[in-house]
C-alpha cells in the first residue's frame, strides 16, 4: 500500500563480497591479535587486574550477542513482519556464541581473583554456607556449560533452518523456527538471568537483587538493537540492502531503542529505589560502592548518558527518521552499555575509587576484534537477508 516502488527481491538475494572488505578484516585481525597478546601479557604480570578487565570485555560482548539472540527468538515467537529483512544479521551475530564461550575460559581460569566465594572454605561464613547449594564450583561450571551450549546450539539451529529456507523456500521452515522460538524463549530468560547472576552479581556473593537479570537484559536488548542499526547502516553505506532496508525499518529500530532506553531506566531505578529505601546492609553494599567516591561520577554519567540523553533524542520522530542521527544515538548507546558493564565489574576491584587501568582496554579490543573478524567471514556466506522467507515482501513494503 505504500507509495514506494514495489520491490521484489531477486531469488538469489544479495551477497556480501568478502574480497572487497579484506582490508577491514585485516584491521580487525590486527586489533584482535594486539588486544589478545597484550591481555595475555597482562594476565601473567598482573593477574588480578586482568581478571576484572577480561570479565568486563567478555560481559560486554556477551550482552550484545545475547541481545541479538533475543531479537531472533522474539521475531519468530511473535511472527514479526518488519524484522524479516534484518533477521539474517542477528543470526550472524548470535552465531558468534561459540567464540563467546571460548572467551569465557579466561574468566573461569582466573575465577579465584573474581569470585570471593570460591576462596572461602565451608563453615567460615554462615551467609555463604546457606547459599552453598547454588554457589559451588561443580554447579557453577555445569551452569556455564549449559548456558553456552544452549546459546550456541539454538543460534546455530536458527541460522541453519533460515539458510536452508533461502534455498528451498519451504514455508514449513518458518513454522519450525517459530516452534523452536517458543521453546527457546523461556530458556533464554533463565540462561541470561542465571548467567549474569553467576558472572556479574557473583562478584559480591553477599549481594542479591531479583532485578539483576532483567537489568542486564534491558541493557543488552537496547544495545543489541543499536548495534543492529549500526550494522544495517554500514551495510547500506557499503552499497548493500539499498532497496531492502528502508527508512521505515530504521524508524522501527529507533522506536525499539527508545523503548529499551525507557525499560532500562525503569528497571535500573526500580532496583536502586527498593534497595535504597529498604536500607538493608547486605543489599546496599552494591550501591554504596558505586555511588560514593569517584565511582559516583560514573554512575551519574550512566544515568544521564544511558537514559536522559538518548530518551530526549529518541523521543523526536526526526531523529528516528534520519539514519545519520539514529546512528549517532546508536553509537552513543553502545558506549553507554560499555560504561554500564564497566561500572558493574570494575568497582569490585578498585573499591577505593575509579582507577582506569591500561589493561581495561585490551580485552575489549581483543574480543571485539576477533568477533568482527569472524563476523566478516560469516556475513559473506549467505544472502544478506532471508530472500525466500514467506513474509519478506511484506517486510520490504512495511510502512509505520
Amino acid at each position: 500500500m505504500s507509495e514506494r516502488s514495489h520491490v521484489v527481491p531477486t531469488p538469489e538475494g544479495e551477497y556480501f563480497e568478502k574480497s572487497r572488505f579484506a582490508g577491514l578484516s585485516f584491521i580487525a585481525a590486527i586489533v584482535a591479535v594486539v588486544g589478545l597478546i597484550v591481555s595475555i601479557i597482562g594476565a601473567i604480570v598482573w593477574p588480578e587486574q586482568f581478571a576484572y578487565s577480561w570479565l568486563f570485555g567478555f560481559a560486554y560482548f556477551f550482552t550484545l550477542c545475547a541481545g541479538c539472540f533475543f531479537w531472533i527468538i522474539v521475531h519468530h515467537a511473535v511472527d514479526a513482519e518488519w524484522s524479516v529483512v534484518v533477521r539474517r544479521q542477528w543470526e550472524n551475530i548470535a552465531n558468534l556464541f561459540p567464540l563467546i564461550a571460548l572467551f569465557f575460559i579466561p574468566v573461569f581460569l582466573f575465577r579465584h581473583h573474581l569470585y570471593e566465594w570460591m576462596n572461602i572454605p565451608p563453615g567460615e561464613d554462615h551467609l555463604l554456607d546457606s547459599k552453598r547449594a547454588y554457589l559451588n564450583l561443580p554447579f557453577f561450571a555445569l551452569r556455564a556449560v549449559f548456558f553456552f551450549v544452549y546459546f550456541s546450539a539454538v543460534a546455530f539451529m536458527f541460522r541453519k533452518i533460515s539458510v536452508r529456507q533461502d534455498r528451498d523456500g519451504n514455508p514449513a521452515s518458518t513454522l519450525k523456527m517459530r516452534r523452536l522460538a517458543f521453546v527457546a524463549l523461556p530458556l533464554f530468560a533463565l540462561s541470561l538471568t542465571f548467567g549474569v547472576w553467576d558472572w556479574l552479581a557473583g562478584l559480591n556473593y553477599k549481594w542479591f537483587s531479583t532485578m539483576w537479570g532483567v537489568y542486564i537484559f534491558a541493557g543488552a536488548c537496547g544495545s543489541a538493537m543499536s548495534l543492529t542499526v549500526l550494522v544495517m547502516a554500514a551495510l547500506r553505506h557499503a552499497g548493500y540492502l539499498k532497496e531492502t532496508v528502508t527508512i521505515e525499518h530504521f524508524h522501527i529500530m529507533g522506536k525499539w531503542m527508545l523503548a529499551f532506553t525507557v525499560f532500562w531506566a525503569y528497571i535500573g531505578f526500580s532496583q536502586y529505589m527498593l534497595i535504597w529505601y529498604a536500607n538493608i546492609p547486605e543489599e546496599t553494599d552494591y550501591f554504596i560502592l558505586r555511588n560514593t567516591k569517584s565511582w559516583n561520577l560514573l554512575s551519574l554519567l550512566l544515568v544521564v548518558g544511558r537514559f536522559f540523553l538518548p530518551f530526549a533524542l529518541l523521543l523526536l520522530r526526526s531523529t528516528k527518521k534520519d539514519t545519520r542521527a539514529l546512528c549517532m544515538v546508536a553509537g552513543w548507546i553502545l558506549c553507554m552499555q560499555l560504561l554500564d558493564i564497566y561500572v558493574v565489574v570494575l568497582p569490585e576491584l578498585h573499591r577505593t575509587g575509579f582507577h582506569l587501568s591500561i589493561l581495561d582496554f585490551f580485552p575489549v579490543l581483543g574480543i571485539g576484534g576477533t568477533l568482527v573478524f569472524f563476523y566478516l567471514r560469516l556475513v559473506g556466506t549467505t544472502s544478506l537477508f532471508p530472500v525466500r522467507d514467506p513474509r519478506v515482501i511484506e517486510s520490504l513494503r512495511i510502512v509505520n
Binding site: M1, S2, E3, Y272, M273, W276, Y277, N279, R317, V399
Partner: protein, 184 residues
C-alpha cells in the same frame, strides 16, 4: 447549499468496492485540492494518512505539554510539603536533593496520568466528540461502514466544493452509489 427539496446539503459520498480502491480514490481527492473530506472503513488502512495528505497531528504536542504539566505537578506536590511545609526526616533519608528517588514514582505516575488524560481529551476534541448524531447517518448505505463498506465523503463546507465537480471526481475514481447527503 440546498437541494431542490429545500434540505441543506452536508456533502456528497461514494462507496468503493475495496480498501485498495478507496486508497487510490483518496489520493485523487487529495490531489484535486479538497480539504474538508474524510474516508470511512471498517478497519484502519496502512498509509491512508499519507494518501489523504493529513500530515502530522498536533496530538503529540498536546501530550508532551500534558506530560510536562504532570511532572511539574508531581514535583510541586512532593518537594513542597517535604522540603518546605512539613520537613521531616523519614527512614533516615536527608532533606535535600538526594531524597529525589523517593519522589520519582510519583513523578512518573503523574506524568503518565496527565499524558493519558491529555491524549484522551485531545482525541475527543480533535474528533469533535462527544456528539449524538451526525448528518452522514442520513445515508442508509453508510451503516455498512462498520461492516464491509468503504466510503469517501466530501463535505459541502469545503471551499472548493461544487456538486458537479465533486460528483465527477468520485465517479472518475471508481465510486459507486454516489449520493448527496442531507444535513437534516
Amino acid at each position: 447549499m440546498r437541494t431542490p427539496s429545500g434540505n441543506r446539503v452536508y456533502g456528497i459520498g461514494a462507496e468503493y468496492p475495496s480498501a485498495a480502491s478507496l486508497y487510490e480514490a483518496a489520493k485523487r481527492v487529495r490531489d484535486a485540492g479538497f480539504k474538508r473530506w474524510d474516508v470511512h472503513s471498517p478497519f484502519p488502512i496502512h498509509g491512508m494518512d499519507d494518501a489523504m495528505g493529513l500530515g502530522k497531528s498536533w496530538l503529540s504536542a498536546a501530550v508532551l505539554i500534558g506530560g510536562c504539566t504532570g511532572l511539574l505537578t508531581a514535583a510541586l506536590l512532593t518537594f513542597g510539603p517535604s522540603w518546605f511545609i512539613y520537613p521531616l526526616v523519614v527512614h533516615g533519608k536527608p532533606i535535600d536533593w538526594k531524597t529525589v528517588p523517593a519522589f520519582f514514582p510519583i513523578m512518573f505516575e503523574l506524568t503518565v496520568l496527565f499524558s493519558a488524560f491529555t491524549a484522551f481529551f485531545a482525541m475527543l476534541i480533535m474528533n469533535g466528540l462527544p456528539r449524538w448524531y451526525h448528518p452522514i447517518f442520513n445515508w442508509d448505505r453508510f451503516s455498512r461502514a462498520t461492516n464491509d463498506g468503504f466510503f469517501l465523503v466530501i463535505e459541502a463546507r469545503d471551499p472548493r466544493f461544487t456538486e458537479g465537480e465533486a460528483q465527477q471526481l468520485l465517479e472518475q475514481s471508481g465510486g459507486r452509489h454516489i449520493t448527496v447527503v442531507h444535513e437534516d
